[in-house]
């Protein structure tokens, strides 16, 4: 089975009209397309960076606030400049884009502009016809990010073609000074926000460091997915952050069949930190293999986990190196902290429990978590991968 088509969608800078794109996203997903949604009010630079890192087939831009002729042209130009001209651009803007505009935009290299009244069906058909076939031989990658992005695609495609393929990578591969941190926890606990806030701190602490993020969203084999984590991330839209969104493509447990190999590749690609985020997980999930590539695991919890008994069932509470109670401004947070603390005491391991309010700017809890992660240079397995 071929890999689903991956398309990035976004709304231009200074434009918050996301009603049309939301509808189109859902329609694409329903028809087997993996949509990486970047959100609204996004700059040309953000869009092109994301498209390259995600190695999508095409970028769909929905523009309702004018300036579209320039904006689309800038996206096409920047793609070319970055050596990513094989990522195509299409879009629409209801009646705001006239036929004359569209003609000008096509001349500048835009594949297609949809006008008001185009049915959703037509758009889906277009996407499948135009972007459904595998890309022919691609020109040599111009930058290391493009090369990395393509390799990730190859890994993912490989798993899509051979059903039931198992990882070739052996655990515990050497991976230089990169630290790999795994984030997991139930949906809605605020993992993405927390990661984005940590990224801000990584970027500020060391003006050279690079961070990679491997983020996951659920999907069923052969069907589409909404990969929407980027849309809520404000600090990770940065050239020093390489982010890749993956659909789980039918695998249970919070990760994709290709995750392990992709992570292994990222871990040896020279990043200072590699962050992996699972989909929202259930109680039984233990997504990170013991003695795997992940150095540290963080379980992010929501104070609303139900009764105390529920805590006994959460496997990750036994395994995680750090447990974060996010949204600790909620009323229930203190109770949650106490109950989780007792639960962790049973394990008799040096697990850390931290309260955060990730949505808050400069949250001291997130600062503490950051200090723990960034200062804890010694691996829990004691292999001591000190940066030298």
């Amino acid at each position: 089975m071929a890999s689903p088509i991956r398309i990035l969608t976004a709304v231009p800078i200074c434009d918050g009209h996301d009603s049309a794109i939301n509808t189109i996203n859902l329609e694409f997903i329903r028809h087997g397309i993996e949509v990486v949604y970047l959100g609204y009010h996004r700059s040309v630079g953000d869009i092109v960076r994301a498209a390259i890192q995600e190695d999508v087939r095409a970028i769909g831009i929905s523009s309702y606030n004018g300036g579209h002729v320039e904006f689309f042209a800038e996206v096409v130009d920047l793609l070319r400049k970055k050596g990513a001209a094989d990522i195509k651009v299409f879009g629409g803007g209801g009646g705001t884009i006239t036929h004359e505009d569209a003609a000008a935009m096509r001349r500048k290299g835009v594949d297609e502009i949809f006008f008001a009244g185009t049915s959703l069906e037509e758009m889906v058909k277009f996407a499948h016809q135009r972007y459904g076939k595998p890309r022919w031989k691609r020109a040599r990658a111009k930058t290391s990010d493009i090369e990395l992005a393509r390799k990730l695609t190859e890994i993912e495609d490989g798993y899509a073609e051979i059903k039931g393929k198992t990882s070739k990578t052996r655990p515990g591969m050497s991976k230089s000074s990169t630290r790999v941190i795994g984030f997991t926890g139930p949906g809605g606990a605020g993992k993405t926000t927390l990661i984005d806030e940590l990224v801000l701190r990584f970027l500020n602490k060391d003006r050279q460091s690079r961070v990679a993020i491997l983020s996951h969203d659920p999907s069923v084999i052969g069907e589409g997915a909404l990969l929407g984590d980027r849309a809520t991330m404000i600090n990770s839209q940065n050239d020093r952050v390489f982010m890749r969104s993956m659909a789980t493509r039918g695998q249970a447990g919070g990760l994709s069949p290709a995750t392990h190999d992709c992570l292994a590749l990222l871990a040896r690609s020279g990043f200072d930190y590699v962050i992996i985020e699972t989909v929202g997980t259930g109680q039984e999930a233990m997504p990170f293999q013991k003695n795997g590539i992940v150095d540290q695991t963080v379980l992010v919890m929501n104070p609303d986990y139900g009764s105390r008994l529920q805590l006994q069932k959460i496997v990750m509470l036994d395994l995680a190196d750090m447990v974060v109670v996010n949204k600790s401004d909620l009323q229930r947070a203190r109770t949650a902290h106490t109950e989780i603390e007792q639960r962790l005491d049973q394990n008799r391991r040096a697990q850390r429990l931290i309260d955060t309010v990730a949505k808050r700017h400069r949250d001291p809890g997130v600062d503490r978590l950051f200090d723990l992660i960034s200062s804890n240079r010694k691996s829990k397995r004691g292999t001591g991968r000190k940066k030298s």
Partner: protein, 602 residues
């Protein structure tokens, strides 16, 4: 229970009170007799007006009832126009033509004429046309064009994308957006150009500014511009409205630039200042329009707008601003489309607001008014066979005025394509004039179309549905908690998706699109108002000059602003100083350093 829960209870209680009064009027003879007496009094005082044809009509139409129970149901349940609970209108006469001669029926039924000794003030024109394009001087020219035949100068300002997001025109990647969809404002100097030639302190002038995320900064620029032109004494005389509605931005329009809590704090800082120093200013326009445009159902629009309003009221009260000080300075803004709910959406909203404000917030009469600006639905206008948009807008105008909106903007038929051009703006404005001045529908008699069985049925259904929405929001912990939970957003998105699906499936007929389409009009010949590159370039250049000229002073002002923001004190006075020497983008950027940026919700 949050205030919203109390509002639900107060409306339920009030409805029960009305029923009790009906019952009492029927059982308590004295009460019944008194009501009947009051009713006859009211009727006797209604002046007579004459249509141009000579037909005599009452200036206020009342239901033909003479049974005390029904009288109680009307007087308590609906109220006369201008009386609690204001179902029929916030004011007594709204858009009635002024009368020069008063006729009234004497007891013997003969008509007696008398010259009015009082000079009847000419009613204010309710027409507002939203406008903004290219650079400040271009919009200024448009404003002068629009108001050349108007007694009053009510300007409604649209800003371009960079301004709405608090970004300067010289920011990366926004060049093509300068002056598109609205006017580009970067500095206080632009603000001076924007309203040049208008007397900002005059009673016939008001400025409305449709901007929310950076509203406090833009407000400060407006005040600074007015002070530079007319001196500090102009400040208390300033009239107008600034949208400044943060909740609806987060719920629907996506033009939020700071995280929710600091956004609300900056808003409250501004409201505290304006309600004290500028008693004629409306520092917030609580807006359902964008919620409706983002695809909500009419009930969602009304419910979220009202609940947002109550949440603001709670916030301002918590800051210590007296309800009778801020209450009269709140205004509302609704969308009016073609769905059946619009027959009574604003009527019901006005009633719920009045009851909630009186019962829960202890508001006096002036602070109970749901003062409403309506705009016809932009979403209902389509590009295909776009001249049909004239009819759509006309029907929506009719609905808006049936709801006794206080003011109204009618969309131009070419809006699906671009910033409206003068030809179509003129037609849109004339649509209102035809309805209000040429036709006799709204100028002779108040309540002309109120109270039909159908309208009442819609009122009851809509009110019940709005209260259900309130209960759900209350269950989620109140408005702020629900917003952070993305409740309203997901509801709106669902509704929007359903709407599109319905158009796609043909369940929702859109003439010229999925029904009776001949396709001949698919390439409209509309002259587009686009901003020339040269103008965009000149905006960037004069901004650079401003920044260079004020570089040193800007640094100090921004530092001072940041310190006050950190301290938690009201920062509006520092904003007022900062806008003298800083650009919009400089201020936004500095504030974001202190309080963070808004994290988008999807």
């Amino acid at each position: 229970m949050s205030k919203l829960g109390q509002v639900v209870e107060s409306v339920e209680k009030y409805n029960q009170f009305v029923l009790d009064q009906v019952k009492r009027a029927r059982t308590d003879q004295k009460f019944g007799r008194d009501l009947l007496g009051r009713w006859n009094d009211i009727k006797a005082k209604i002046p007579v007006t004459r249509a141009p044809t000579g037909l005599a009509l009452p200036r206020l139409a009342l239901p033909e009832i003479d049974e005390p129970g029904e009288i109680a149901r009307f007087l308590f349940g609906e109220g006369l126009p201008g009386e609690f609970p204001f179902l029929n209108g916030a004011y007594r006469e709204m858009y009635l033509e002024p009368i020069r001669e008063v006729e009234s029926f004497e007891k013997n039924g003969e008509t007696k004429k008398s010259k009015t000794d009082k000079k009847i003030p000419q009613a204010e024109e309710p027409t507002r046309l939203f406008s903004g394009l290219m650079l400040a001087e271009d919009t200024n020219e448009r404003f002068h064009y629009l108001t050349r035949h108007q007694r009053t100068h009510r300007l409604s300002t649209a800003f371009d994308g960079p301004t709405l997001y608090g970004i300067d025109s010289d920011a990366d990647g926004v060049f093509g957006k300068i002056g598109e969809g609205g006017v580009a404002i970067d500095t206080v100097e632009d603000m001076i150009r924007l309203y040049d030639g208008f007397d900002l302190g005059s009673a016939i002038f008001s400025a409305s500014m449709t901007i929310s995320g950076p509203a406090p900064i833009i407000m400060a620029m407006y005040i600074a511009a007015a002070k530079r032109r007319f001196g500090p004494s102009v400040v208390p005389k300033l009239r107008g409205t600034i949208q400044a509605d943060i909740f609806k931005e987060v719920q629907a329009q996506n033009e939020t630039i700071f995280p929710i809590e600091p956004s609300l704090r900056f808003l409250t800082d501004m409201v505290e200042f304006t309600t004290r120093e500028m008693p004629r200013w409306y520092p917030i326009s609580i807006s359902g329009y964008h919620i409706g445009e983002a695809g909500s159902t009419p009930v969602q629009q009304a419910a979220y707008t009202l609940s947002n309003g109550f949440a603001y009221a709670e916030m301002f009260a918590a800051r210590g601003i007296p309800v009778d000080q801020f209450g009269p300075r709140l205004s509302f803004f609704l969308d009016c489309g073609l769905d059946v709910e619009y027959i009574a959406l604003a009527r019901v909203s006005r009633r719920i607001w009045a009851i909630g404000m009186r019962e829960v917030f202890g508001a006096g009469a002036k602070a109970q008014l749901y003062k409403l600006h309506t705009q016809t639905s932009g979403r209902s206008l389509i590009a295909a066979e776009f001249k049909n948009n004239l009819t759509r807008t006309a029907a929506e105008l009719m609905l808006a005025y049936m709801n006794a909106t206080n003011s109204c903007h009618s969309n131009s038929a070419d809006e699906p394509f671009t910033t409206p051009s003068e030809e179509w703006i003129r037609l849109a404005a004339h649509g209102q004039a035809i309805l209000l001045e040429e036709s006799g529908i709204f100028k002779h008699t108040m309540n002309m179309l109120s109270g039909s069985p159908g309208m009442k049925a819609v009122e009851r259904a809509v009110e019940a549905a709005i209260l259900d929405e309130f209960r759900e929001i209350e269950r989620l912990g109140g408005v702020l908690a629900a917003v952070e939970d993305r409740y309203q957003r997901s509801q709106i998105q669902n509704a929007s998706h359903r709407y599109e699906q319905q158009i796609n499936d043909g369940v929702r007929p859109i003439i010229g699109l999925n029904r009776y389409r001949d396709g001949s009009d698919d390439i409209p010949e509309v002259k587009l108002a686009r901003t020339p590159r040269k103008k965009q370039q000149s905006q960037v250049e004069r901004l650079a000059k401003f920044k260079k000229k004020n570089a040193e002073k800007a640094k100090c002002a921004l530092n001072k602003l940041a310190t006050v923001v950190e301290s938690g004190k009201n920062c509006f006075p520092e904003l007022l100083e900062a806008v003298e020497v800083c650009s919009l983008g400089q201020i936004t950027g500095r504030l974001q350093e202190v309080v963070g940026r808004f994290r988008p919700m999807v």
